[in-house]
């Protein structure tokens, strides 16, 4: 049963990923991205990361993809890509580089010096390991608010900076658009 769910979700994840890369319409790409994201959430559930399942679905599928679709639908960037490429050799080179990258990563997976996976398996159990520390959410929270408190605060500052920057940029561009419109109207009246 575990393997059935795993391979079903794996097939869905790969199909979604290929859909993102191969489909022409950006809206279809965003929808196949949702398939991949929810499949990854299934893997998180299988791996026992209950908090991350909820976060994956709420933050990614609920916020990021909706924002993607929002931009695609509102700002009219749903033009089809041109079929001809400015660089003729780009696609085969990208494919070859992808195959090389996959070979490299699979090579690294098999080596203990790259993954740190010890053969005994329990050597790293000191950090949040053990069943006596409560469920997944409590373990993540305890680690997040003790060991990772400073990065957590920096993340908060980063999010505030991103929001402020987005507002400033949006305002500036709309002001310049208004200035252009005003200039065009003024010149139209003058002529």
């Amino acid at each position: 049963m575990e393997y059935f769910i795993f391979f079903l979700a794996a097939a869905l994840a790969l199909a979604g990923a290929l859909g993102v890369v191969l489909l022409r319409n950006p809206a279809h790409c965003a929808l196949s991205l949702v398939v991949t994201l929810i499949s990854v959430a299934i893997f998180f559930a299988q791996l026992g990361a209950a908090l991350l399942v909820a976060m994956q679905i709420i933050v990614y599928a609920g916020a990021i993809v909706v924002l993607f679709l929002f931009v695609i639908m509102l700002l009219g960037v749903d033009r089809k890509e041109s079929v001809e490429e400015p660089l003729k050799f780009q696609r085969p080179v990208a494919l070859a580089l992808g195959v090389v990258l996959f070979a490299e990563v699979v090579f690294l997976i098999g080596h203990q010096w790259a993954t740190g996976k010890s053969s005994t398996g329990t050597a790293h159990a000191i950090h949040g390991g053990g069943a006596d520390l409560g469920g997944n959410v409590e373990r993540v929270a305890r680690s997040l608010f003790t060991d990772f408190l400073w990065p957590f605060e920096i993340t908060a500052a980063l999010l505030v900076l991103a929001v402020v920057g987005a507002v400033v940029l949006a305002r500036r561009s709309s002001e310049s658009a208004e200035a252009v419109e005003a200039g065009a109207a003024g010149s139209g009246e003058a002529s």
Binding site: E2, F6, A10, L14, A17, V20, V21, C29, A30, L33, T36, L37, V40, F43, Q46, L47, G48, A50, L52, Q56, V59, Y60, A63, I64, L67, F68, V71, I72, V77, E81, S82, R91, L95, L97, G98, L101, F102, V105, I109, T115, G116, K117, H124, A125, H127, G128, G129, G135, N136, R139, V140, S143, D147, F148, P151, L158, L159, A162, G165, A166
Partner: protein, 82 residues
């Protein structure tokens, strides 16, 4: 260990994450649309997240999941670039 944890070998997850990462990288190199390139970056981030969670289970170390939390937050911040 959590109730839902499975006995599936970690290698399956790692190879799958490598495949998703490779597809995302190839898409990033080939697509021309900026939005679709962002989606390919999201694919690569998700592959890395899957690897982190796999090793969090494999090494019984919760810090892998905490780092995935930060990756999610930074990816959400990246959306505001538009």
């Amino acid at each position: 260990m959590p109730v839902l944890a499975t006995t599936i070998d970690a290698g399956w997850y790692l190879v799958l994450a490598a495949l998703i990462f490779t597809i995302g990288a190839a898409g990033l190199l080939t697509r021309r649309n900026v939005l679709v390139m962002f989606m390919c970056v999201e694919l690569m981030l998700n592959a890395v997240n899957l690897t982190f969670v796999t090793f969090a289970r494999e090494l019984n170390d919760i810090r892998g999941q905490v780092i995935v939390f930060f990756i999610l937050a930074v990816a959400a911040a990246g959306r505001w670039r538009r």
